[in-house]
């Protein structure tokens, strides 16, 4: 079993799916000879040729609009947005068409496309290269939103996304792209979209995170467990929409406490939906308010201040402890 980092896991999944199914095509800015600005499509052009690995003109709405057409004609486009900060240019096509075509045509036309995009902060990049705005897609009926957290689930979820009959927004936490390696099974595997994963079981508090925050949260969890001798249940959301609220709410019924770690700006963020689901299904079990540790509702600062904006091990720990000590 090879050890891969997350970018390599993306490439592996793309290669496997393109090999297995010739209707899979990859398109985007610089995905061809350059192999993508993060090298996620490295080597695909040589293997699959210009017809299936397509360097597009510089136009995100164009990329997604054309992908929708390709998908309706039976292809399975996997489009890359160079950074999620540019993906908003494609919202009109996603909201207006990708997410609606199945309903609009009562199943006659479907849009089995994947929109991959590196998202999130922490890589010292320019403006627009560090936001976390998964809610813009999660609030849109007809779209699924998947956010892996490590190499193995990246490969498995991307495979599932490509095989999914509907549009999937696949957000890759770029801070984790090369942060660590993980063993990835030799044979292709998939993971079910729409399921949270209980990463570690525990009894005193439920901690929920996703994307790059998983890594930081794990550190905080270890630290608190050691310092306070408590037992933490850690959940990796993996699919933002549809949200697997059952797994989270069941855990909260057991632990009675919860902290949610979110990189995105706080207000109207994913954590709010998770809290609303806990309210619906587990309110009476709550022994303390659910803690939200999140980005602030400010314009995302330039890179020299971005670490002040993103939840750190310190802030996450304090959030968890607040929920415990309440």
């Amino acid at each position: 079993m090879p050890k891969l980092n997350m970018v390599q896991a993306v490439t592996l999944a793309l290669e496997e799916q393109m090999t297995a199914d010739e209707s899979v095509v990859v398109l985007g800015e610089d995905v061809g000879v350059d192999g993508g600005v993060f090298r996620a499509t490295e080597g695909l052009l040589e293997k699959f040729g210009e017809q299936r690995v397509i360097d597009t003109p510089l136009a995100e709405s164009g990329i997604v609009g054309a992908s929708i057409g390709m998908a309706m004609a039976g292809l399975k486009p996997v489009a890359e947005m160079q950074f999620s900060g540019f993906s908003y240019l494609s919202i009109p096509q996603l909201e207006g068409h990708a997410s609606r075509m199945r309903a609009r045509s009562m199943g006659q036309f479907t849009v089995p496309m994947v929109l991959r995009m590196p998202y999130g902060g922490g890589v010292r990049a320019l403006e627009h290269h560090s936001e976390s705005r998964e809610v813009l897609y999660a609030h849109n009926p007809g779209l699924k939103v998947v956010i892996p957290s490590g190499p193995r689930n990246t490969r498995a979820l991307l495979a599932a996304a490509i095989q999914d009959p509907d549009p999937v927004i696949f957000m890759e936490p770029k801070r984790s792209y090369r942060a660590f390696k993980e063993e990835v099974p030799a044979d292709p595997e998939t993971m079910e979209i729409g399921k949270c994963q209980v990463v570690q079981e525990g009894t005193d508090i439920t901690v929920v995170a996703w994307g790059a925050m998983m890594h930081t949260t794990k550190k905080a969890v270890k630290q608190i467990e050691k310092e306070r001798g408590i037992s933490i249940e850690l959940i990796d959301v993996l699919t933002i929409s549809p949200l697997d609220s059952d797994t989270i709410c069941e855990s909260v019924r057991k632990t009675g406490r919860c902290a949610i770690i979110q990189e995105a700006a706080r207000s109207f963020g994913p954590a709010s939906e998770i809290i609303a689901c806990i309210n619906d299904k587990s309110l009476l079990y709550l022994e303390a308010p659910v803690q939200r540790v999140t980005g602030y509702d400010v314009v995302t600062p330039y890179f020299n201040r971005e670490l002040d904006y993103m939840p750190t091990v310190g802030r996450i720990s304090r959030g968890i402890i607040e929920a415990i000590d309440f």
């Binding site: 609009g65 054309a66 057409g69 004609a73 207006g96 045509s105």
Partner: protein
């Protein structure tokens, strides 16, 4: 070396059959009597169904819609060159073309009566009506890309108005199509208005066709009320597309004879005189005269056709109004193709609500 001419461009205009029935025989497409009659029938069917829909709307029997009256040559004659395996990507003002593609009036009435059911049936390569102005042009490019990749020789034809040419998506579509050299025909029905905005306020260019130059694409302006010119230009574009010679932009100069939609009053922003000035250019009058001159058509044939189409219209309106109620819960059926926990949960809720309502 200094200020030199870098490149020259020109845009052509084509008219085959003029307002007075004069034909340019050099350019006249060779269509058989049967074909001409068929095309004329399609155009009349578009006209008659639109007129009926206007009445139905006024009587509150369907919702808002935008009539295509006056534009039948632009969309029917262009569609007439297309094959069944070609992709039809419409917006909302090419009813005649849509009906030609195997869609029934019943279906159309269902759509304008607020039911998604109005989007299914017809040729499986017909895309549903696209309301967001300009967006569908990109879908056509993707469809055409797939044709090319699969080695099919099918073409995608996409309809849009003059207003749509202002949208970024229209520009991106033309650029992608030309860079990828895919088989698409961008047919702009330039009907002089985008709701209340006249063509001159939409773009300063002398023609829509010249916008093709920005993409080194073939572009042509045709008299959009002349079915022969529209047919000839589209046939040429389709042939080039099938031969791998890429996309074409066709501007069909026509006129929206009615209000924008039934929610609109066109006399707030334009005169009755302007409208009237277009009446002699009516594509149906002109085409009828052409067929009469050829000896293919006469008053008897006309009466027979009118009677047939009206009867069909009556029958379909009746069918439309006697359909059983559509199910209420269909909105939960086609959001996703696979089990979706949140939708399933809410479907249970929805069913309960319906029950509560019935109980109340």
């Amino acid at each position: 070396m200094p200020k030199t001419k870098l490149c020259d461009f020109s845009i052509s205009y084509m008219q085959v059959l003029d307002e007075n029935g004069v034909v340019d025989t050099d350019l006249e497409p060779s269509l058989s009597k049967e074909q001409l009659v068929e095309l004329y029938r399609h155009m009349q069917w578009g006209r008659i169904t639109d007129e009926r829909m206007l009445k139905l709307q006024r009587q509150g029997r369907i919702g808002t819609f935008g009539p295509s009256i006056g534009q039948e040559a632009a969309h029917c004659a262009s569609m007439f060159c297309m094959r069944d395996d070609d992709w039809f990507v419409g917006c909302f003002r090419e009813h005649g073309a849509r009906l030609m593609r195997g869609e029934s009036l019943v279906k159309q009435l269902n759509y304008f009566n607020g039911y998604t059911e109005g989007n299914i049936g017809g040729n499986p390569r017909n895309l549903p009506i696209s309301v967001i102005v300009g967006a569908q042009s990109l879908h056509a490019v993707g469809l055409a890309y797939a044709s090319k990749l699969k080695g099919e020789d099918s073409v995608a034809i996409v309809y849009q108005g003059d207003g749509a040419t202002s949208q970024g998506d229209f520009h991106e579509a033309l650029n992608f199509a030309s860079v990828w050299n895919v088989p698409v025909i961008f047919l702009v029905q330039n009907n002089q208005w985008a709701i209340s905005v006249p063509r001159e306020k939409q773009t300063k260019s002398k023609s829509i066709a010249q916008k093709a130059i920005a993409y080194e694409m073939h572009g042509i302006q045709v008299d959009g009320n002349d079915p022969l010119a529209v047919y000839a230009a589209t046939a040429e574009a389709a042939e080039r597309a099938r031969n791998g010679e890429g996309p074409t932009l066709i501007e069909a100069v026509t006129y929206r004879m009615m209000m924008h939609t039934t929610a609109d009053d066109q006399y707030k922003y334009r005169t009755k005189e302007e409208e009237d000035s277009w009446k002699p250019k009516d594509p149906l009058i002109r085409f009828k005269k052409y067929m009469e001159d050829k000896g293919f058509w006469d008053n008897k044939a006309e009466e027979k056709l009118q009677a047939e189409l009206k009867a069909d219209c009556d029958a379909q309106v009746k069918e439309f109004e006697s359909q059983p109620d559509f199910p209420r819960d269909v909105s939960f059926e086609h959001v996703f193709g696979t089990e979706h926990a949140v939708i399933s949960e809410q479907k249970v809720e929805f069913d309960q609500e319906l029950e509560e309502e019935n109980d109340a």
